[in-house]
Symmetry: C2
Subunit: 222 residues, 2 copies
Amino acid sequence: MERYFEEAFAKVNTTILTMGSLVEDQMQNAMKALVERDEALARRVIENDRRVNVLDLEIDEMAIECLARYQPAARDLRFLTTAMKISSELERMSDLAENICERAIELNAEPQLKPYIDIPYMAERAGIMVRESLDAFVKADAALARKVIDDDDVVDNLTEQLFRELLSFMIENPRTITRAIRLSFISKYIERVADHATNIAELVVYLAEGKIIRHTIPPHAP
Amino acid sequence: MERYFEEAFAKVNTTILTMGSLVEDQMQNAMKALVERDEALARRVIENDRRVNVLDLEIDEMAIECLARYQPAARDLRFLTTAMKISSELERMSDLAENICERAIELNAEPQLKPYIDIPYMAERAGIMVRESLDAFVKADAALARKVIDDDDVVDNLTEQLFRELLSFMIENPRTITRAIRLSFISKYIERVADHATNIAELVVYLAEGKIIRHTIPPHAP
């Protein structure tokens, strides 16, 4: 591998990691904004989505330039196309953090329906999946990627459990319906963040083992 | 452009279109399964998602092989990376058709809540957006792509209108809550199909004009 190519390669890697930690911050701040009913913070998360979008475009440009200039073969080629895909997944996660904040702002208009313990816990689990999927990418660690894929079930189960609780609120007292629905949307957004981490993990398994596991696991209802 | 490359290029194009018409079928059959309460058809749509997944992987492989073999420059390079992105968008649409069918099967366990007029209409509008976004891709027609982007507002407005109607059902009669929520999920799935068509249209504008409009339009809450 040429030295210049190696540098470009490392730059793509670093930018993915920067994007990943930004997305983690976005998710953590979205939860903080929800729990502390902090509208200013929610608006800041919505604003910061732009920074993630800029990184997404940068990674695309870097990868395309690498393809054009160095015409890499085999593994390096796959690394670059995978990086482009991972950056799309991260960008969608940031959109979801933004959506969480939109619902959080709406929820502030009414009294809090219930203590928020389970939702931040779900978000924390999803956040760990994001971090580990990117660790797995950087280290080409298929075993870690498979762990992420398994962990998706935990978040799915938590979403379903919360949904049933919210349903019982709604049935008992129709005045809770709007709030319960907004909370159920938030939990769906978190579930989708975990799905995107799973997508990254599947791409990593492919990159590391050359084995396609994308599309072999039935998708969960988002 | 080499003749072989031209052939490979055309093959990618054709496969995208095949995938697109399969996704359109999936959406139409999902609506038919919902409206006619046809569980067998719903299960067939869920089953057929596999065919879309196979095409997604094929397009990726074809594009990566083209990149490795012909090392295309500039516009051809962007065409291939765009094709890979479009195929991911189509694959997600098919997942959503599958999700619609899962909810349709659940809905069959109870009497129908309301006549299904607006939901199939929304799906039809979203389907037109899918078809036109792919037409725009094949013809590199930025004007058509921009029309698709504008049309997204129609689907968003329909989703919101339906959501308000479903909310009033739930508040008036808590026994409708489960069904109303399932229907609101279905409308969200359709809204997301339209969002994916919008993503494709944004990629086409970039391909045709070299102008990035991705991320310049604020995302709608999915």
